[in-house]
Symmetry: C2
Subunit: 343 residues, 2 copies
């Protein structure tokens, strides 16, 4: 089966200039994939023509789906849902619902994307709330972290469901049999934390994932845990704080390398090293967050993604299609619900 991805080309800070170019490169990387470019037809045609010079785009694998509307970055999810039924975001998700695409990818407004995806595709049976999951670099590979902001209030059952979904995603992506799942807390000891994480821990101890206990913020980056589970408030703050520190270090490093002639020479010498470092921690390499728990695949790209970063989000979508992640989650949940009914 060929994989077809619906791309909301209008979303994100840069729009079609980035998304159409990323789509063209994606097609040249993956010979059997095809794309539905959803957005303003004239703009898309112009961007596609602009790609012609560099070997061109295989237009047999491109279809344009015209959309009159665009969801803006600051629009409230409820208003987007009600008034933007002809938007590129909505149509991309509609194409997944209709079975014409196996995944939708958007760099648009996260809240609107989640609300639309939930409304159009519905959640899987047994899932109360979808979660946003992304991989972050760690010292020996990467860690899947969820929820990253879809749910600012979570109870223990939500965290339990996130753990199951994250575990299935890690299994599928990393091809590991039994990913280590940790609950994010303020200490590793069982007495630490609030009632919600304690209650979630109890459920997970009895549960269907390889639960290794409480982990702390720094464990995300150490490499001893494959899936880190938290509510969306905590996950979002952890992610943004991490980005902030990395940016500050990079800022200081640039400042220090400009301080005096010797430092400038050192900077030149160190450039290849710093570029390799940058590549290893580049958020663009990890771009493409999965909206897990839906009856379909929806991938959120960072709004500020460049061509390479948006391409990564498209690659994530393709991998989820190939690994059939929603069906795997559904099967795991069905088993769980059956076990609960039997108990």
């Amino acid at each position: 089966m060929s994989s077809q991805i619906a791309i909301d080309v209008m979303g994100g800070d840069h729009g079609p200039e980035v998304t159409v170019r990323a789509a063209a490169r994606f097609l040249s990387r993956h010979a059997s994939a095809s794309v539905l470019l959803v957005g303003d037809q004239a703009t898309i045609e112009r961007e596609l023509a602009a790609q012609g010079g560099q070997g061109g785009v295989d237009l047999d694998r491109v279809e344009i789906v015209h959309a009159e509307q665009v969801v803006t970055m600051d629009e409230s999810p409820a208003i987007a849902l009600r008034t933007k039924k002809r938007s590129s975001m909505r149509l991309a998700i509609d194409l997944v619902k209709a079975g014409r695409a196996q995944a939708a990818v958007s760099a648009g407004n996260t809240g609107a994307l989640m609300a639309t995806a939930k409304f159009v595709l519905k959640t899987l049976p047994g899932i109360e709330r979808p979660a946003i999951c992304t991989a972050l670099p760690n010292e020996s590979g990467h860690t899947h972290v969820l929820d990253l902001g879809a749910n600012v209030d979570c109870d223990a059952e939500h965290l339990f469901q996130f753990a199951v979904m994250g575990s299935v995603l890690a299994e599928a992506f990393d091809e590991t049999a039994s990913p280590r799942v940790g609950l994010l807390n303020v200490g590793a000891e069982a007495i630490k934390g609030n009632d919600t994480v304690k209650s979630a821990a109890e459920r997970l101890q009895a549960g269907p994932v390889n639960y290794i206990g409480f982990v702390e913020g720094d464990d995300i980056y150490k490499g001893g845990v494959d899936v880190v589970v938290c509510d969306g408030f905590v996950g979002n703050v952890a992610l943004k704080s991490s980005e902030g520190v990395a940016k500050m270090i990079s800022h200081f490093l640039r400042q220090e390398f400009k301080r005096g002639v010797l430092s400038r020479i050192a900077a030149l010498m160190a450039m290849p090293v710093l570029n390799r470092l940058k590549k290893r921690v580049d958020p663009g390499r990890y771009n493409g967050a999965s909206l897990l728990g839906l009856q379909g695949i929806v991938i959120k790209s960072h709004g500020g993604a460049n061509v390479d970063a948006f391409g990564n989000a498209l690659d994530v979508a393709l991998r989820e299609i190939e690994k059939d992640v929603p069906r795997r989650i559904d099967q795991r949940l069905e088993t769980l619900l059956q076990e609960r009914a039997d108990a």
Copy 2:
């Protein structure tokens, strides 16, 4: 008035070897300060004697207070409180209560320190829960962040009180008239976040601090806000995640600088730059968290602090004494309580 600090010399991963040495250096930095070294008398005397070679310690400004017990790092706060009444941690805080010391400093068990401090010193009138506050580096200076882990569940009133305390601390430390106070949230827009932060925002908008609105995790490190307020769960995760990222970047940097001869030469060239960078982001430079909201000054040092880092915690204690931080918080609260009573 001379400032006298009670030091729990037994606390932390390294104990008297670090704490006594840091105390000796602290005395040579501050001619009018004096210390009460609380812990095992024989060990303290041995460590003091070991400092003799390097110009010696001004023993006129040192008093040893023998303590038979030590609170261990993994002890539960409740058990420490009940069974460790002769511990170095407890006696140090008792000395503050008795007015013999103006501040207590400990690198011991955070939970036990907070529980003991709260039990012995009591909170200020109007404060329901003390909070842990520390300064973190940002691109143009530092940001005060609280709570960092004392309170895993907070309501809007707690966050409001943290904001008032953090604002007073920043005013006193940074000598700024009107520190900018932000509430940590998952987005800057007013519709973002959970009910607790929204309700806290309402109180702060009407309130007695320079409230600038919601801030996100990366704002801690950007430099546009002086005080960032959050519950202890979120604050702890933000802090630990930040530490984790910084360590991972440092790990990758070492790896990359070892890759090949050219990289090794670049590493030698870049060493002074990297050392300056390290100094700027060194957590030791920011060591010394304030337990705010108590009727007395208690400073928590990181357990793994070295001599310089523990010395920073002592400096923080001295600054709080000189600036009379608890009294300032008390006065601000009194005004607030009066206004509420009048309203």
